[in-house]
């Protein structure tokens, strides 16, 4: 077997289409599907359409999930007040795994990566994975998902 290279001549790689004329997804009121594998008590309020899509993927495969159930304190000031914290987007209780979804460009995720490194130092037993924009675009290319531009 060889591994070669191939360009997309058909123009269908990861095209992300707006949901309607003149609308961007960021301006569309998020849909509120009935989730089957969601384990939380209150309906989740997603920060962006990518989080919603990840939730739908988890739900589709029947993977139990929670939305932002835990806030990890990363830094306190001298009076003990929290000055920096991090709430990963998803928690998969069966896997004991946190997921953080970011749709920022790869070059702009430095701050989030720094938070993640900090979390890993302070909470070495916490398992967490970060999903970048390119991961979302892979999903989008495969499943025809949409996101805010």
């Amino acid at each position: 077997m060889q591994i070669g290279e191939m360009s997309d001549r058909h123009g269908h790689s990861g095209q992300l289409k707006p949901s309607g004329a003149g609308a961007t997804l960021a301006s569309v009121v998020p849909e509120t599907p009935v989730f089957q594998a969601y384990c939380g008590a209150e309906p989740p309020r997603f920060a962006n359409p990518a989080e919603l899509e990840y939730a739908k993927v988890l739900d589709f495969y029947g993977i139990p999930w929670l939305y932002e159930p835990t806030t990890f304190v990363l830094e306190r000031d001298e009076e003990g007040r929290v000055t920096e914290a991090f709430s990963p987007d998803f928690y998969l209780p069966d896997q004991d795994l946190y997921l953080e979804v970011t749709v920022m460009k790869q070059s702009l995720v430095t701050r989030k990566n720094r938070k993640l490194r900090k979390l890993r130092v302070l909470y070495p037993n916490v398992k967490i994975k970060l999903f970048y924009e390119r991961d979302f675009e892979r999903l989008a290319a495969r499943y025809g998902l949409r996101k805010a531009s």
């Binding site: 591994i3 495969y61 795994l97 290319a141 495969r142």
Partner: protein, 153 residues
């Protein structure tokens, strides 16, 4: 392929394992793998709905033709990525009381795995985080027929 086939044949010698392919991307791999397994074995196939199609929940589009009770089953797929599909299959088929249930995958991306408790026993290669087509891998049903694996931009 020869290495996986030889390993599988040694592990299941005298047990006539059932290789279960998950359609459709597995087709070239399971055909080549079957030819490389030099012991008696059986083949069957399942097909699942994919995310983004009409269903809101994964389900079987095509179920197995045989019973799994007491059988040694090897699930065969082309790649394990997040592991979500395999997780569903292992849960579903595990309920049918096979004697054993393991996974053979040509490729894997362990760094993208969301589920860790998969019985993965045979893996060909760990591949980089790139999009591939060919050798069963498709993009909107194109390119499956390419004989080689190709990097897609």
């Amino acid at each position: 392929m020869r290495e996986i086939g030889a390993e599988l044949a040694a592990d299941y010698d005298g047990r006539e394992p059932l290789l279960v392919g998950s359609l459709k991307s597995c087709i070239p791999f399971i055909c080549d793998l079957s030819r490389a397994v030099a012991i008696a074995h059986h083949l069957d196939f399942i097909e699942l709905t994919g995310y983004g199609e009409d269903d809101d929940r994964i389900r079987f589009l095509k179920d197995l033709d045989v019973e799994l009770e007491g059988r040694d089953v090897v699930l065969v797929d082309a790649v394990i990525d997040t592991g979500l599909t395999m997780h569903y299959l292992v849960r579903s088929l595990g309920l049918r009381n096979p004697a054993s249930l393991h996974i053979a995958s040509l490729f894997e991306r362990p760094y993208r795995r969301l589920v860790d408790d998969l019985p993965v026993r045979y893996v060909g290669f760990t591949i980089p985080d790139e999009f591939f087509v060919g050798y069963g891998f498709e993009l909107q049903e194109r390119y499956r027929n390419l004989p080689d694996l190709r990097l897609h931009f």
